[in-house]
């Protein structure tokens, strides 16, 4: 049984307004109330004020790689939520960062927002796709 949290919320963190706008429109169309942030302080403020079911974070917000710690924080704060990171490429170190930050998936920046959102929503329907399968959630 899912827990009532007052509707589905998504957080999008990306430095480009046009990208934020595209994701916001797509997620709103899928029933999400979307909060957007272009920098870390705004993202952190949003984390203190909402329960996010889904988050999409650019691996580069202000400088290269600063999105990863934010993704890690999102995973710690919302262990049952789906967190994805937009990355310039999926090399070994990027995938290692994804695993070690606890994110569910990474998408290349060249992917269209439509494709990213549909892939994330499909993955969220799959049992075990989110951190529901994390150690904390498998309690006797």
């Amino acid at each position: 049984m899912s827990v009532w949290r007052g509707g589905k919320f998504a957080l999008i963190v990306h430095p480009e307004l046009s990208v934020l706008s595209q994701y916001q429109a797509l997620l709103a169309g899928n029933g999400f109330t979307t909060v957007v942030a272009r920098d870390l302080p705004t993202a952190l403020l949003a984390i203190t004020q909402h329960y996010f079911d889904l988050a999409i974070v650019s691996s580069q917000i202000t400088e290269s790689g600063d999105g990863w710690p934010l993704a890690g924080v999102l995973h710690l704060v919302y262990p049952k939520s789906f967190v994805a990171v937009l990355v310039p490429g999926t090399d070994l170190l990027t995938l290692q960062a994804a695993i070690n930050s606890g994110v569910q998936d990474v998408y290349e920046l060249t992917e269209t927002p439509k494709r990213v959102v549909s892939s994330m929503l499909a993955a969220m329907q799959t049992p075990g796709a989110t951190a529901d399968s994390s150690p904390s959630e498998k309690v006797h």
Binding site: L76, P79, T90, D91, L92, L95, Q96, A98, I99, N100, G102, Q104, D105, V106, G128, A131, S133, S134, P135, S136, E137, K138, V139, H140
Partner: protein
């Protein structure tokens, strides 16, 4: 009395097994080891429970550690899963992300970082209510 968190460490290199056992026993963990994927599967198949399973990736064959991670991810309660490898690649890291694995370390291992990460993951799991 607080029960020690339990670990299963899997590697086909005896020196790695011995080193990790010594280091992590010192850290306060109860350790069981397996020298192969097959041995590890038998141990977890016998309903032994672990707070965390740490496995090498290449043992009997390439990337077999992913198979062990998949088996471990289906256990209830699900243990923390750590993979370490000297043969990391985008393809095996992608497979590990899909399991999902909790931590992916490249050899040579940074023992201090491994201890820190393991302690954090185990503490988080315990705080959220997983019995050790």
């Amino acid at each position: 009395m607080i029960k020690k968190p339990s670990l299963l460490i899997v590697d086909d290199e005896p020196n790695v097994l011995l080193t990790l056992r010594l280091v992590l026993e010192e850290e306060g963990y109860e350790i069981r080891t397996a020298a192969s994927y097959a041995e590890a599967e038998k141990i977890i198949g016998d309903a032994a429970r672990f707070d965390a399973i740490l496995t090498d990736l290449w043992m009997e064959k390439e990337d077999i550690g992913i198979e062990l991670a998949r088996s471990a991810s289906k256990l209830h309660p699900r243990p923390i899963i750590v993979i370490f490898t000297g043969f990391g690649s985008p393809s095996n890291a992608r497979a590990a992300l899909e399991v999902p694995v909790d931590y992916f370390a490249l050899k040579p291992l940074d023992i201090d970082e491994l201890k820190r990460v393991l302690n954090r993951l185990v503490a988080q799991a315990m705080e959220r209510g997983v019995p050790s």
